[in-house]
Symmetry: C5
Subunit: 366 residues, 5 copies
Amino acid sequence: MAYFTKNYHPPGTSPGTLTARETEATPPRFHLIGYSDGQLTELQLDNPAACKEYLTHSTSTWIHITGQVQPALLEALGTAFGLHPLALEDVLNSGQRPKVDEYDEQLFITLAVPVGSSDAIEVEQLSLFLGSNYLISLYPGDDSLLEPIRKRLRSHGERLSTQKADYLLYAVIDLVVDMGFPLLEAFGTTIEALEDRLLESPNRQTLGQIHTIRRELLQLRRMIWPQREVINHLLHDDQPLIQHTTHIYLRDCYDHNIQIMDLLENYRDMASSMLDVYLSSVSNRLSDTMRVLTLIATIFMPLTFVAGVYGMNFGNNSHSPWAMPELSWYYGYPMAWGIMVTIAVVMLVFFKRKGWLQRNSDINDR
Amino acid sequence: MAYFTKNYHPPGTSPGTLTARETEATPPRFHLIGYSDGQLTELQLDNPAACKEYLTHSTSTWIHITGQVQPALLEALGTAFGLHPLALEDVLNSGQRPKVDEYDEQLFITLAVPVGSSDAIEVEQLSLFLGSNYLISLYPGDDSLLEPIRKRLRSHGERLSTQKADYLLYAVIDLVVDMGFPLLEAFGTTIEALEDRLLESPNRQTLGQIHTIRRELLQLRRMIWPQREVINHLLHDDQPLIQHTTHIYLRDCYDHNIQIMDLLENYRDMASSMLDVYLSSVSNRLSDTMRVLTLIATIFMPLTFVAGVYGMNFGNNSHSPWAMPELSWYYGYPMAWGIMVTIAVVMLVFFKRKGWLQRNSDINDR
Amino acid sequence: MAYFTKNYHPPGTSPGTLTARETEATPPRFHLIGYSDGQLTELQLDNPAACKEYLTHSTSTWIHITGQVQPALLEALGTAFGLHPLALEDVLNSGQRPKVDEYDEQLFITLAVPVGSSDAIEVEQLSLFLGSNYLISLYPGDDSLLEPIRKRLRSHGERLSTQKADYLLYAVIDLVVDMGFPLLEAFGTTIEALEDRLLESPNRQTLGQIHTIRRELLQLRRMIWPQREVINHLLHDDQPLIQHTTHIYLRDCYDHNIQIMDLLENYRDMASSMLDVYLSSVSNRLSDTMRVLTLIATIFMPLTFVAGVYGMNFGNNSHSPWAMPELSWYYGYPMAWGIMVTIAVVMLVFFKRKGWLQRNSDINDR
Amino acid sequence: MAYFTKNYHPPGTSPGTLTARETEATPPRFHLIGYSDGQLTELQLDNPAACKEYLTHSTSTWIHITGQVQPALLEALGTAFGLHPLALEDVLNSGQRPKVDEYDEQLFITLAVPVGSSDAIEVEQLSLFLGSNYLISLYPGDDSLLEPIRKRLRSHGERLSTQKADYLLYAVIDLVVDMGFPLLEAFGTTIEALEDRLLESPNRQTLGQIHTIRRELLQLRRMIWPQREVINHLLHDDQPLIQHTTHIYLRDCYDHNIQIMDLLENYRDMASSMLDVYLSSVSNRLSDTMRVLTLIATIFMPLTFVAGVYGMNFGNNSHSPWAMPELSWYYGYPMAWGIMVTIAVVMLVFFKRKGWLQRNSDINDR
Amino acid sequence: MAYFTKNYHPPGTSPGTLTARETEATPPRFHLIGYSDGQLTELQLDNPAACKEYLTHSTSTWIHITGQVQPALLEALGTAFGLHPLALEDVLNSGQRPKVDEYDEQLFITLAVPVGSSDAIEVEQLSLFLGSNYLISLYPGDDSLLEPIRKRLRSHGERLSTQKADYLLYAVIDLVVDMGFPLLEAFGTTIEALEDRLLESPNRQTLGQIHTIRRELLQLRRMIWPQREVINHLLHDDQPLIQHTTHIYLRDCYDHNIQIMDLLENYRDMASSMLDVYLSSVSNRLSDTMRVLTLIATIFMPLTFVAGVYGMNFGNNSHSPWAMPELSWYYGYPMAWGIMVTIAVVMLVFFKRKGWLQRNSDINDR
């Protein structure tokens, strides 16, 4: 996920200006579902005004618009339902921080929908308008996101189909919030795998993965944290559009959001700790390497020196008794080997005592 | 303990859905204890409806259900006692953040019970329903957890057996909170042992242990912190189900929870510091190793060079007076040794002055 | 941007003292725009008193003064509009923390305008006086900053030209706040580029860049954070000068400021993490270098020792059977090579097993 | 000081249970001081009931009990003065977080008394019961702690002896809080000494000391922080037992506690910074060591190579003009020395230019 | 500045005890300035009682006492003006945290005056008593601190000389707060200089300087932070001694204090970051050094080995065709050089490819 994902107008643009976004996206599709106790109607309309007219036919109506909505269509929607231009601007300028805006006859809510796996998370914006007897939802992605709710509406005996639009709003928020659970479960698995590798065989790739995890957790947090305020806002303020019976459900949803935030903070703390552990692990390995080098150098340098001494040519041309008499001793050569073996053994014993013959990074030497 | 321990439904599932969890667990057992001033009845029932009927027989009734409860049984319990579906869902979807939910006639409370030693902590969920004259407790583990409370109920003269269900609730919460003390005592011992090893002989295993301690403290904190809010909620709100005389006891319990939190935060701070100390210790050891290497190299490289010089063959084939005349000097060989010994001594004096002959990691050189 | 950018008087100076600042700057220019529903007048005046007189001609008047204002001129402005000396002092002593000061008949607001790119940000102070029917804005830089607003005033059908001075104030604040979006987008790109370089080829320049980014984000934060309070102050207090209809727009502006703050905090967190990653990367490379050194030394030191042994001159002058008989063996020389090749192969196999022949910083060895 | 210093009962124990602690401690001693304007009576009683009876003889009575109090005695005290079992439990289960508990007729206060020097701090618990006309203090240590207050009571003209028990309580709290000043002064001296050693000659012992300081500051903080709340509680709540004239003194005491907390936080911050400085210092020294090694190796390796070249035996057996003709040159040997000296000089100039001949850790090379 | 700068009495000392401090300091001097609209009287008195008597002669009187005040004099002052013993104790026990104490007829205020440059800051305590028509200020240092205010009192047309004592109090606080600006400007310059050195040529001295800066900023913060509360206390509470017209000035002063705090926090953040950058820089240089070492070793070790091989004496004594036949080849010696040059070139090309011939710490290689 890129760091900066917000669409915005050039500074100084008039508020409420609607600008078309990249249009290679899917064309918009309207799904209208009207329901009044037990009775359900599903329509595929493509005209905001027609949607507006339908409202009188059912107790509650859900208008779900997927794909990329063009400014003109959005303006028509705004005109039909009396939506505020600032809210419409926020629908197009996606990448919003989740929030609730209260207007005279509607609540405007934006949520952040995490899409993709823990490797590459993207966040899509779900925009919701709640009126007294309707809910309009706009989502740039495909149709499958809210499919579970549609299924519940269609099935008999479900509480959802007998409730008003505010309960439908709860169902949508609940679904978006609960999408955090599988995501965080995946993150947990990834972090546990990283931790194992971290102590056993850390490499540069591990470092990159830790950094990426931190980055993704940070960005996810930026999206999920304000959702807590959104639900709180719906709960505590004197909202005429939210019935009191829905409160107990929203509070459950609020609890779920808190649990997700708690986990996120935990993960972030552990990811920070992992960076420190990584650095320590690399230092440990460096220390091991250096111990091997020191061992080899400390043993072979004196040996090579001894060999060098007896490679000197003092004995060649001179017959002085001081001119390397060892060279002509009967046991001179074995003596040289004796000196060298003694040096090597002394050094090895010294290192053994220091405990240097054992890797300090060895995880098996408990 | 795994990072992610929450059971959850797929996003979009209808609220209040009850799903069976892994069933290889112990079958549920019902313990019903009814008590009214001094009189105590213990029954083994397995029928929620029968439990409900019993309520009229004593002033207070405690229904304790251990083992794995199946959805059907839980639903029967819900129907008999009028428990809210959302609360029942939370009983099965264990791994909750401790919380209090207020329903019309009950309080629903979940607590986190730490199980196991400081090496491998697991957290089990204890679910509690407090009604006006009963307490229902559900615990997936075995029967021994609340045994101390049963013993106190049976013993005469105990305040517990003369009080109502809210005091029983306090006794349960107090037991769960106080389980933190032996746990933290064990952690304290572990941390002190780690600190000693940290400065004397840090190795990769120490690093892993520090990371694990941080992780466990973090996860424990996530469970214990909200318990503070749970007790606070019981204390400060206008709770009809909690008598005023119980407040002083709950406040004591609240104090204990704060003390545990304080210790946890202390431990976490020290665990962070230990990571830094570890890194410094490894650096210290690396520095020691390098000093040995430098010492050896700095002494033997010049010596080997001198030996190499007198191993050159200029004296062999030429009779120029410039052709290594040292080789034919009477004291040439002792002179060569003199040069080499002088170099070695000068180097050693130099290092002595620099203070390099002493380990900087030596803890005894105070 | 320098750390300390505030102009100040020597301690103990009388409050409200106006001191001329460096005068090589552009001379002041006055732009007066009066507008009442649909009608627009633009004047170039250079006399505060004349500006004051003009106020009666339109519903709302905007006096925009760019360039460096001299104390005398400022005092004349203060006298004409009844501005408080403390506010006038703050106009000259630029480098203010953004703030709102309430005086009897005006609001005095200072904002921080970020100028320049993400490489070299400067902050200029925009000072605003809001009266009941006028807005005075003072900006030391050039004229182009508020040009977009002038354009909107001139265009028909724009909401701006039909509103009062408080909406104009909103438009100015909105423009300044929204200048954060392109700036943070640039920062995001810079940070992403740095992250890539960080793992692949970190060098000292990367380090300097990370430090600079942290510094700039910190200074930016110091300017943007209090702007939140400024807007909040305008929103929540009982401000007679701000109409209620403007609130919904200011709240949108407040949201934008929060989004910018959120991003800034994210960026700061990532910049901190990057310093840790940098240190780990350098350690990784050091570790790689040392592995190569150890490899070479461990292979060639024993070999050189063997060669040194057979360079000893024991065989020259003595005919003892112990005097290096290998030298006169028929296959003596191939045997020496055999020993050396064996040592080299054993060492290589040993390193292969240890996994040392592979760089641990190699990002391709996934 | 051990990490875990709290005495506790096994989880599930009935609240208010009194358990004897390690009994090798000093036996309890009772000091009763009764005083009414100017008149002072001192008695050595060992009977709680007799103490209670005495209360009517003076305006104010102070019962100070030192040494180890047994459960039976404590129970007798509780019965005589109507003390709550939970408070009595807290007297024995020492290691409390400082706190105030309000009971019907008493205030129960626990304070943490720091004992020992900055090297090895222990914390003892002082328990206080304030009634309308008495103060009971229990302290497990020896008699000297509150001696200064006894002296002030005995001296004429002291405000203390003319006041009621609440002022005596203030005097005790003031003494305990002010014990922080000499302690923190000692810590300040220790930290300054550590800082000096840190930059000049850091070794492993320094590392241990920094870690210990952090640990002690953290534990001290855990004891001193809640004392702030204790005094605040006495000040702000509607306490019938604390006279309004005592408030100004308690507020002074509160100020002192804040100052001590401020210093503690400062010290903790500096101790954290010292860990970072330590790591940097060790790295600096490693870097110095490596520079020496590199210097030596870079100079002597090429020299040894040159010597090795002229130690080759090509000239011995062959008479080819290509067979090391240098060996038979007239100035061959001086030329070899010339090459070697040139290499050494070039290397030294190179290093001089790089600035490597100077230690980067040299504190004198400003 | 030492860590611990507070004067204190031994714990248990009676509150309000006045103890003489080190007396080598300057003797006290009294400056009395009485002023009522336009009229100014300056007197040099040395008698508190005479000062008290003077009060009736002017609307407002300022008594400024510099130098070291002895307990006897202070007591006389206390008696004459009815000052509280606790406040007098705080005048002598300097090193207070800045604070406001409200007594019946006075406000007692202590401020921290930073003295000295950014290299070596000391903090002196300024004690202020504000009565209804007088201000008493006590300052242990010399007379020049408040000279600017005296000058403003003497000059005609200054607002100060026409106001009451509360405005004089504001002027003093404003002066003390504004002393932070030049101090922080100096700190900013120091930090910028350090940053430059940090990346170019970090050495041990740089490390010490960063640590010192952190320490000084921390101590400064401890003094400046509570000044915010002091001003806030004067502003928000219902202070009879502070006129409402002074509020706007105190609020300006409060703003300045906030700006100084903001800068301090920024500086502290950057100083923390600098420690990390320092460590990375040292690692970078270590890495460079090691690369040079590895380069030299990797090139010369194989070369020396080759030279060593042909220094073996197999060819001397034996006439086996396997006994180093290379030695007697016609082009044997050039061949040996050929092998050695080939090895060197291959190594150099290898390092060139790895990018190791370039310093990674080279700041010019952008």
